[in-house]
Symmetry: C2
Subunit: 206 residues, 2 copies
């Protein structure tokens, strides 16, 4: 510790440079692909397929979803309104860290409230938040009901269930709008990949 003394300004300065450097090292422009939609709309399925496709293109990605967030970072949170807001806030903050690390970050959560999505989007820079509306009609989601949650919600066993007893506020102007009753999985995935290519979030491999 003889050569350098601690200097907050220098450290902070270094960190600002770091994101720029990482973009060059990783050969990609980081962003959050924020999937929003009803339970059972297909958010996780589409996000997983997008991630797989990006991986095959050597893109560095990470997917945040219920599996790795609800049982870890957010395991202290329940489903009250306050906790649901906090859930989305933390996911936004963690996504911001991943974007800072240069990673193309996918999040797959219902995130039903505009105000919460707005907070998440405000955490990152312009162009780093890509809202993707997985627009599947409620009756389709309810027919699928992969986890049996709609049935429980209809029976009153789950309170505040989005689409049944709690509102889903549709994105007013999503950057990518996936009408899943008109598009199959591959078409949904291609639409996202095409967008990332068009705006140079991803490039041809070095």
């Amino acid at each position: 510790m003889k050569k350098h003394e601690i200097n907050k300004d220098i450290i902070w300065h270094n960190q600002n440079i770091m994101q720029e450097k990482r973009i060059n090292l990783l050969n990609q422009k980081p962003c959050i692909l924020w999937f929003t939609g009803l339970s059972g709309s297909g958010k996780s399925t589409i996000a997983n397929e997008v991630e797989k496709k990006l991986f095959d293109m050597d893109v560095k990605t990470y997917l945040l979803d219920g599996d790795n967030v609800r049982h870890g970072l957010n395991k202290d949170l329940a489903f009250s309104e306050v906790d649901r807001i906090e859930n989305i806030r933390r996911i936004g903050e963690v996504s911001k860290l991943f974007v800072d690390a240069g990673i193309i970050t996918l999040t797959a959560f219902i995130s039903p409230f505009r105000s919460d999505r707005k907070i998440a989007s405000s955490l990152v820079k312009y162009g780093e938040f890509i809202e993707i509306f997985v627009d599947t009609p409620l009756d389709v989601c309810e027919t699928r009901d992969p986890k049996g949650l709609y049935k429980k919600a209809r029976n009153g066993d789950i309170k505040n269930f989005t689409g049944i007893s709690s509102p889903y506020e549709k994105p007013e102007a999503p950057i990518i709008h996936l009408k899943t009753d008109r598009l199959d999985l591959d078409q949904c995935v291609d639409k996202i990949i095409d967008y990332l290519r068009k705006y140079e979030y991803i490039k041809e491999s070095k």
Copy 2:
């Protein structure tokens, strides 16, 4: 959504494969470099230098520290004992996500309690948690006092200040022990880089 149906088992299975694949893609073995030590011991300075050096070797890294965590993810937390435990818990959980993403993750927080560091280490797999003790004598830290915190703590303006009015529990068997009164900054950094090379967390560039 016609070709595939949502299947939690398949999704989970994919995610397990993903970390393996990422290790190949990124050509490195992810881990947490967990720096612990008193305020002013030099954790951030050393961690920043290690990150810079790794970056120059094309290693994909991310540094979690007060700058990017305290004002973001953990901005709802104060300095009570409960909040300090929660602070470290979240840092551990976020580090776990970064490790899952294949990133060599550096954390620079006092993390004074063994029990908290033990929880953080238990979140990841064997060999993924590398405890680094930045062992700087209290009187040296207090003389540096880069943020004027020791002075405030001595005056009683800050309560529960590690080393003054709250204990620092030294690591009993840190994987890397940096006695900073005997090593200069470069030697501290080299010791860490050598360890990462020796145990093949980092490899020669492709």
